[in-house]
């Protein structure tokens, strides 16, 4: 007759194994719950940005310019993020921001603005799910110690199939495409009235919260400011016609290939992508935020990026 209180070694090992399996089953569920909370915060930030954009629109009659050059047209200006600061409770920063320059948004050439924005944290620019760097123009970069915030969201300046779209450098398709068919366009402003597809059918700000990978698997920051900060704008006299903090939609959602056309250093078609599985979030001009699946047809995505293509997207969500 066996003593019921004693355990054999095999029994103990089995019990430990079962407990281990149970924990292994539980852990992903806990992680998923935490990611769901982060994703909610991420979409909340977009909603806040949407409120600011709409407040800007109602006081100016137009949406802010996506990226500006300086008044002399020869230097780097600043982005739409700077323009909406007063509408998102950041008046103090906005009032001190030097909008004359030149340059203004290029902090490598404007010490006043660099000092003003150094280590200034704007929670509404940060998607908590992201592992991308919060501060850019900072170490490990060899020559900068500006520590300016880099946003996890970018403006939509249109899609590659809009009539205004063209190769960034004429006759050189390898440099990507630039469009002014959206609502946050470079060198100009679009009004709500121009969004003839309807405010609820036009994306205005989209998510960029993950890393891109090159052919060797190395990670690269493929946000639209490519490590120049949320304030960086545009400059028509630039020989490469670079535009920052807005993107022209060319790729599918969650295309993360560094080296695809228009994705790369200071490139115009940085992708809509996220760390959330299966898609990315987008703010629409009516202030709503939707999760766009990466299975969305590419033409549908273009239609959402263009404000006036006449294609109204029906039931997507």
């Amino acid at each position: 007759m066996r003593d019921r209180r004693a355990f054999t070694l095999v029994e103990l090992l089995v019990v430990i194994a079962i407990i281990g399996i149970l924990i292994a089953l539980l852990l992903p569920a806990v992680q998923a719950a935490r990611e769901a909370a982060r994703r909610l915060q991420c979409s909340n930030n977009l909603k806040q940005v949407g409120l600011a954009l709409l407040s800007y629109e109602s006081s100016h009659g137009v949406f802010p310019p996506g990226a500006l050059e300086t008044a002399d047209g020869l230097h780097w200006g600043h982005s739409w993020w700077v323009r909406i600061l007063p509408y998102i409770e950041q008046n103090t920063i906005y009032d001190q921001f030097d909008q004359e320059g030149p340059p203004t948004g290029w902090l490598g050439g404007n010490d006043h603005n660099a000092d003003l924005l150094r280590k200034k944290y704007f929670p509404f620019m940060r998607c908590p799910s992201s592992t991308l760097r919060q501060w850019v123009m900072a170490p490990p970069h060899p020559s900068w110690d500006v520590y300016v915030m880099s946003a996890n969201y970018t403006g939509v300046s249109g899609a590659t199939d809009h009539p205004t779209a063209h190769d960034r450098l004429d006759g050189q398709p390898e440099y990507g495409r630039v469009s002014s068919g959206g609502l946050l366009i470079a060198y100009g402003s679009a009004s709500a009235a121009q969004a003839t597809d309807g405010m609820s059918n036009t994306m205005i700000v989209v998510e960029q919260s993950d890393w891109c990978k090159d052919t060797s698997g190395e990670k690269f920051d493929c946000r639209s400011d490519t490590r120049h900060g949320f304030c960086m704008g545009a400059n028509r006299s630039d020989s490469l016609k670079r535009v920052f903090n807005v993107t022209t939609v060319l790729h599918r959602i969650n295309e993360k290939s560094w080296g695809a056309v228009g994705i790369g250093s200071c490139a115009p078609n940085q992708p809509i992508q996220s760390v959330h599985p299966g898609g990315a979030q987008a703010l629409f001009a009516d202030g709503s935020v939707h999760f766009l699946s990466e299975m969305v047809e590419i033409q549908t995505l273009y239609n959402l990026a263009n404000r006036d293509d006449g294609n109204v997207v029906g039931d997507l969500w």
Binding site: G108, P173, H251, S257, V261
Partner: protein, 163 residues
């Protein structure tokens, strides 16, 4: 105390149905391996680009599929060879692509750049091959390995650039 009760209960279950454990483990393993996986099947694409038989050692091969929204580049190696690699793995999503061959990208530092650097000429990449509309190159990517070699010719470019 509670732990001991749990352990005792588990021991009883184990004694009654010891055979169930391996079955459960196998099922669990199947479930875990069955979840996830790649989002799309890719066909491997590689090849070599030459100009009148000579390898083109610098440049980009661009693959465009407008229906899918895939616009991918591959860098040419010193011997003119290339292999396409996307973030999800080697190759391209299956389908038909227009192919063009362009010079490599030029990077210039930011700041007031009033005098653009003189672009380098690439006589070994004729203008005809630099645009999808004129290159006349298409590739249908199928599952498995796809080899796509291009030998560019000068004469053809002269004939086409006029149109």
């Amino acid at each position: 105390m509670v732990t001991l009760m749990v352990i005792t209960a588990l021991r009883d279950i184990y004694r009654r149905c010891a055979y169930a454990l391996p079955v459960a483990l196998v099922l669990l393993g199947l479930c875990l391996t069955g979840c996830g996986g790649p989002r799309e099947i890719l066909g491997k694409v590689s090849g070599k680009v030459t100009f009148q038989g000579e390898p083109v050692s610098e440049g980009l091969v661009i693959f465009s599929n407008t229906d899918k929204g895939v616009y991918m580049t591959a860098k040419l190696g010193p011997d003119g060879s290339y292999a396409v690699k996307m973030a999800e793995g080697s190759g391209l999503p299956l389908g038909t692509y227009q192919v063009s061959i362009t010079p490599p990208l030029v990077e210039v530092p930011l700041g007031p750049m009033l005098t653009p650097p003189k672009p380098r000429a690439f006589p070994n990449i004729p203008p005809k091959y630099r645009r999808n509309e004129t290159s006349g190159l298409t590739l249908t990517v199928e599952q498995g390995d796809n080899t796509f070699d291009v030998d560019m010719e000068k004469r053809a470019s002269a004939a086409n650039s006029r149109s």
